[in-house]
Point group: C2
Chain length 359, copies 2
């Protein structure tokens, strides 16, 4: 992490009241470790996560050798399993007493994994979470097909659970995610993309699964519409915040810790919020720079450094983190209809985790 | 169609009794038009197919411009809609009185279309049904993502139907199809593939959806297990027959009529039944030819002609069509538990159509 970026984040934290309202109750020194916000959730779901991990390994089995090989590559690659944790926590929050939340959570993780496989093919990514992307080992063809297999398995598992409402929520998510990815593809290299248009993409490609993960936990518990809506809103806004921080990290993160190389989005011509803001805030010369690099894909030595510098110059990272924080506040407030509990606290703390990743 | 191939088929027809047992009651002259076997089914489902076509157009709509564009390219490309017709006919056969069979049938067609999109990417095909493959117009990336969208929409539609049994049947099909495609990828270029191994692939990649399409019609009607099993068996065996004829056509068909260029499988290194048989029946010199072309992908001018000639020399097309006919007989017998009806007749006649395509 660059010293400049640390400073930006510290300043943003000190100057705004969001830091407080977000319930980041740990002293600032501690909040440098973003995992603190994740700890209560991890603690809450620990037991169930063992079940999820077993189920994931079981369901990734196939007589077709390449499938478990490739699936395990992804499964063992150290993802946080944030989405299935949301399902478990939402089920617990709403008093679900059965055992099916584990299966729904595993299906959510499969849906996510399928998306990653197809994303890597579409983005031509070489790395995923700091490891070689599956497509660079097994090829694009296997990545497409194993993604299809995992999506099929996810639906199989959901059918076994037998809740039509959960099936409705997550089949909806599957279609919306794909729609979002196509939108992103259409917007690629297009610097005329507005912040609103970009948010529509994020809503679909990322927030839809966070939303579905959280809502399906409460749907299992057969809770009233009010609680489902609250968890939808929580999941959606948390998902947007998560994605915006991800976008910020691509121009400021530490590739070793994050498994994402700084500049991936830049090289892939993705028009993310930091770029949208820097493009709009910049002068003609700068806009020509963005049009040449992101727009036409003509990237030369030193261009990434200039991009990072322009983004910093226009406070585009600070602004992106501020936007994320604002969505985080909406997520936090959405949860206020629930009475205080360990589960509610854990779900609210994870908002801080998602945003603190930017530190 | 080559004169040699017509002769082979005629001989096969005259020499065997299958032609009769398959219920091809039309005189041989007429059976030259394979569509005769399809007519009763087309007649039976005509009204419902209008509903399916409307639903397909409705559900392919998205605010994301590229999705309906690409989807309509496929939808309008003149596929026979054989799979959804099976669903409709099976529902009618088993006395289903509701309206949901139309939605299930449209979902089946979406699943099929999603598979085609991903297949073309995996196979790097340039043509599909005689039109440019979507990937050559919109790119591999859009094909992957729009395929995902259509699969998501298929599940959304099935959830709306609300039958967990239909969902179970078709989510199972989705996972098995993907598994079959991965198997096919693993077997690509591998001339050690046995006929049995190849049949496992066909069972998964093609027969699973025929099976699901037929069974789900009876599942809607909530018929006893015996009838569901019969339609599973019918669909599975019809699907295998269909695929084997497809494989035969790739070394003998007429690309203008079939939308498939002769030699596609050859160029893609697919080890299909005609190749498996010609390889096994051939001498060392011939095996080396197959190892160089299919195995190593080193294809020179004149190689396709030699491949077609070797396949013909070893009667590998005749044998493939005979195998297909044998699966067709199993499909026909599976239907015998149903009392005679227009629906039963139409479903049995379509077996003849699938096999007569080889004429």
């Amino acid at each position: 992490m660059s010293a400049r970026f640390a400073l930006v984040c510290m300043t943003a934290g000190i100057n705004s009241t969001e830091e407080l309202t977000l319930g980041v109750v740990v002293p600032f020194e501690e909040s440098r470790d973003p995992n603190n916000g994740l700890k209560p959730l991890l603690e809450l779901v620990r037991e169930d996560m063992d079940g999820i991990n077993r189920l994931i390994l079981d369901q990734a089995i196939s007589d077709v050798e390449m499938i478990p090989e490739l699936a395990h590559h992804l499964i063992d690659s150290g993802g946080k399993r944030l989405r299935p944790m949301l399902t478990i926590a939402a089920a617990k929050l709403t008093g679900y007493q059965g055992r099916e939340h584990v299966r729904v959570a595993a299906a959510v993780e499969f849906m996510h994994t399928a998306t990653l496989l197809h994303d890597d093919v579409v983005d031509e990514s070489d790395y995923r979470r700091g490891k070689k992307a599956a497509r660079t080992i097994w090829g694009n063809q296997a990545s497409v097909l194993v993604g299809d297999f995992l999506l099929g398995q996810a639906f199989r598992m959901l059918v076994e659970v037998g809740s039509l409402q959960v099936l409705r929520i997550l089949s909806n998510a599957a279609a919306v995610i794909a729609e979002g990815e196509v939108m992103q593809l259409s917007a690629a290299k297009n610097l005329a993309t507005t912040e609103d248009e970009y948010l529509s993409i994020v809503n679909a490609k990322t927030a839809a699964l966070f939303l579905g993960a959280a809502e399906s936990g409460a749907a299992l518990a057969e809770r009233p519409a009010e609680e489902l809506s609250a968890l939808r809103s929580y999941g959606k806004n948390l998902g947007i915040a998560f994605q915006l921080i991800d976008d910020a990290l691509d121009y400021s993160g530490d590739s070793k810790n994050l498994g994402k190389a700084v500049g991936d989005d830049f090289r892939e011509g993705k028009v993310t919020l930091p770029v949208i803001l820097a493009f709009r805030r910049g002068g003609e010369d700068e806009r020509n720079f963005w049009l040449r690099t992101i727009g036409e894909g003509k990237i030369e030595d030193g261009d990434l450094e200039r991009a990072v510098s322009l983004i910093s110059q226009h406070d585009a990272i600070t602004a992106t983190v501020e936007r994320a924080r604002s969505f985080g506040m909406v997520a936090r407030d959405a949860m206020e209809i629930f009475k205080d509990s360990r589960e509610k606290q854990a779900l609210q703390d994870v908002i801080g985790f998602c945003i603190a990743r930017a530190h």
